[in-house]
Each structure stands twice: as structure tokens, then as C-alpha cells.
């Protein structure tokens, strides 16, 4: 629905404008490094590279192989915290 997509666009815009998106991104990155997610995923990348060969690996290869695993490997605590923060932001700033 366009209304829905309009709303989404508006919210996204607000997120970016207020700098909240950046903050959330940094927070997520920091938490993922802390919990070891980044190292796990790097190991996955190593496997892909060894599989595809050092010379010929492309970004698309890595992305398609690694992203789904990455999404699954995010710990629950990190996920919960981030969802909470997003919800809080929306509750504060979204006009419904």
C-alpha cells in the first residue's frame, strides 16, 4: 500500500535526518564485534575464498554465501536490544 510505503519512507527519512540510523549502525557493529560474530563470519569468508580460489573471488560471491549465515548468526540479545531501540525511536518520533 502506498500509504504504508509512504509511512516507511517518512520514517526512514526521519531516522537518517536525526542521525539515529548511524547511531544504530554503530551500535550494532560494536555489539557484533564484541560477541564474536565478526570473527565467525570471517571464518566463513575464508572457507568461501578457499573454495573459490584466492584470485577469482568476487564480492557477489562473498555476499551471497555469507549474508544469510550472518543474519542467522546474530545473537538473540543483540537482536532484542536493537529492536527495542528502533521501537523506542518510532514511539517517540513517528506520527501515526
Amino acid at each position: 500500500m502506498s500509504k504504508d510505503s509512504q509511512m516507511r519512507a517518512a520514517i526512514n527519512q526521519k531516522l537518517i535526518e536525526m542521525g539515529e540510523r548511524e547511531r544504530l549502525k554503530e551500535l550494532l557493529r560494536a555489539k557484533l564485534v564484541e560477541c564474536g560474530w565478526k570473527d565467525q563470519l570471517k571464518a566463513q569468508c575464508k572457507d568461501v575464498i578457499k573454495e573459490k580460489g584466492l584470485e577469482h573471488v568476487t564480492v557477489e560471491d562473498l555476499v551471497t554465501e555469507v549474508t544469510p549465515k550472518g543474519r542467522a548468526l546474530v545473537p538473540d540479545s543483540v537482536k532484542k536490544e536493537l529492536l527495542q531501540r528502533i521501537r523506542a525511536f518510532l514511539a517517540q518520533h513517528a506520527t501515526l
Partner: protein, 343 residues
């Protein structure tokens, strides 16, 4: 996806939740993508596998994950229960106590010199007091009651040896006490007073010229406060002096100046000095200087410091109380030093 976080049901909320989740997914994908770019660049630039080049050292320094051992494979308190043989005294010492023991054993380090000095002092003290015992014949009868506290007093004085809380008046007294300066400070216990039986008659005399000296009933120690100490009366002080020095003891310094006038001149300097020495009599001097009787003797008091030495000790107690205003007169400092040497 977990739907338990949804507070209320309703179309708006589901949409909101969906939105929240979408935003979250976008953020996670951003992170993944960022990582992929990073890895790809590292691969293409050639620094991705740099930390894996040496297989041998990798095996050697692999992270250890066993119980009782840290990640390097070292045991935590391996040396706690071991004993080492000291190269100096050949004793077996526990490992954790080895370093402090070596410090003391070899005589190096901050504390060892302090302890050694203290031990020397105790030895001096003991040998000196043994020789003193023979002098105090009349006190030997009362030995049984005072013997215990002599040991206690010595321990106390040991504690104060090298600590910075050595009594300040020691510095002033050093001139006065002359020969006995080495052992006197160790017997001089700022906190608890002095036990008279360990002191020779000369020392007792010199002490009595400057201090109250009244022997406390419970501790059997001499009061170390000034002649005007509020706890004891002049009667008590007189009695103590009689007791300690015999009937020939000088009469106690009194507040009023009606004492033997001939003995005024000589000891003036010394008593002034004794007034000055004592730290806790600054409050006393102003009140004394108010008395007109004392003021007359002030200017005369600057007498030569070395008159009859032998009698100085005896008479010094006499006029102690008179010239109370000595707090303001600093010149008499040397008089006490000369007098104490003879006494």
C-alpha cells in the same frame, strides 16, 4: 521472527512491528555487506591471510582450553606451594614469602635497616637499664610491682623508634641530656610517660627539672607533662621529687616567686630553656607573663649559662615555675643545654 514483543494486537501495531523488523534487517544486512567488502579488499590487496602464514608457530601458540590452566597453558598458582632455599641463611622459605625474607636476610631494602636499628636500640636499652638497676637500690623493694610495666614500656619505646612520630622535644633535649643522649631518647616515651626505675638519678633529676614527674597510680609512670600540668598538684610533684631524689631534693617550683632568691639567677637560663622546650606549654606562658613577679627576672635571666654545674641540676627545679613567661624569650636556649650536660 519473535512476535512475543508485541504489546497490543491491532493492524497498526502489526504494521509497526513489521516496520521495526524491516529496519532491523536492513541494519544487519548493512553490517554483513560492510564485512564482505572489507574481506574482499583484504583478499585482493593480499593481507587477508597474513596471520596464517606460519603453520608451525600457529600450532605452538594455539589457544589452550583446559581446566586449571590459562589460555597460554600456564598453571595459575604453580609456585605458591613451592619452597625455596635461601642462599643466605639456607632455610626453606615459602615462595610467596621469599622476596620479603631475602630483603631482611640480606639487609637490603627499606624496612631491613629500620628493623636493624630498632634491634640495636633494644640491645643498648637492655644493657643500659641493667647497669641502672644497681643504682636504684631503694627502688629494688618495689621491683615486683614495677617489673612488668618496665617490659611493656620497652616494647612501646621500640615501636616508636624509627617511626616519624618520634617526640619533637627530643631534638631540643639532645643538648641538655649530653652523654645520655643515645639511650635517653629510646626511654623517652611520648605517649605513656617514663618509668623512673630504669633511669639513673642524674637522668631522673634532669627529667624532673623539666617535667611534672608525678607518678601515676595505675601505670606507675612519671607524668611527662610540664610543671604546670593540670592533672597534678604541686604537692604531688614535691612528693615525687622527695621520693625519687631523697630528702635533699630541691623544693618544687611554685607559681609564686617567693622562693630562695639566691637561686634565682643561675638557673634562670636553664629553666627558661626548659620552658621553651616543652611543646605543650605555649598556652601557659602568656598567663605567666601576666604575673608581675615573673617579669622582674626576665631581663636578668640572660645570665651566663655555665655557672656551678653540679648544683644546677638540683636547683633547676626550683625556679622553674617562676619565669613562666619564657615563651617569649628565645635567648635562654643555650642555658639549658649547658646545665643538662653537668646534670
Amino acid at each position: 521472527m519473535k512476535m512475543e514483543d508485541m504489546p497490543l494486537s491491532g493492524p497498526d501495531n502489526t504494521r509497526l512491528e513489521a516496520l521495526v523488523h524491516d529496519i532491523y534487517s536492513e541494519l544487519v544486512e548493512d553490517a554483513c555487506l560492510g564485512l564482505c567488502f572489507e574481506v574482499h579488499r583484504a583478499v585482493k590487496q593480499g593481507y587477508f591471510f597474513l596471520d596464517e602464514t606460519d603453520q608451525e608457530s600457529m600450532k605452538e601458540f594455539e589457544i589452550v582450553d583446559q581446566p586449571g590452566v590459562d589460555i597460554f597453558g600456564q598453571v595459575y598458582n604453580q609456585w605458591k606451594n613451592k619452597e625455596c632455599e635461601c642462599p643466605n641463611c639456607k632455610r626453606l622459605i615459602a615462595a610467596s614469602r621469599f622476596a620479603p625474607h631475602l630483603e631482611k636476610c640480606l639487609g637490603m631494602g627499606r624496612n631491613s635497616s629500620r628493623i636493624a636499628n630498632r634491634r640495636l636500640a633494644t640491645n643498648n636499652n637492655m644493657s643500659k637499664s641493667e647497669s641502672d638497676q644497681e643504682d636504684n637500690d631503694d627502688l629494688n623493694d618495689n621491683d615486683w610491682s614495677y617489673g612488668a610495666e618496665k617490659k611493656a614500656k620497652k616494647r612501646k619505646s621500640d615501636k616508636n623508634q624509627n617511626s616519624p612520630r618520634r617526640p619533637k622535644s627530643l631534638k631540643h633535649k639532645n643538648g641538655e641530656l649530653g652523654s645520655s643522649v643515645s639511650s635517653e631518647p629510646y626511654k623517652y616515651n611520648y605517649n605513656t610517660g617514663i618509668s623512673y626505675e630504669t633511669l639513673g638519678p642524674d637522668e631522673v633529676r634532669s627529667l624532673l627539672t623539666t617535667q611534672c614527674g608525678v607518678i601515676s597510680e595505675h601505670t606507675k609512670k612519671m607524668c611527662t607533662r610540664s610543671h604546670r600540668c593540670p592533672q597534678h598538684t604541686d604537692e604531688q610533684r614535691r612528693a615525687v621529687r622527695l621520693f625519687l631524689l631523697g630528702p635533699s631534693a630541691p623544693t618544687l617550683p611554685d607559681a609564686d616567686a617567693v622562693v630562695e632568691s639566691d637561686s634565682f639567677d643561675i638557673p634562670d637560663g636553664q629553666t627558661l630553656m626548659s620552658r621553651l622546650q616543652w611543646e605543650d606549654s605555649p598556652d601557659i606562658s602568656p598567663s605567666d607573663s601576666a604575673s608581675s613577679k615573673a617579669s622582674t627576672n626576665h631581663s636578668d635571666s640572660r645570665r651566663p649559662k655555665k655557672k656551678k654545674r653540679t648544683s644546677l641540676g638540683l636547683n633547676s627545679g626550683v625556679v622553674g615555675g617562676v619565669v613562666g613567661g619564657g615563651g617569649g624569650v628565645v635567648g635562654g636556649g643555650g642555658g639549658g643545654g649547658g646545665g643538662g650536660g653537668g646534670g
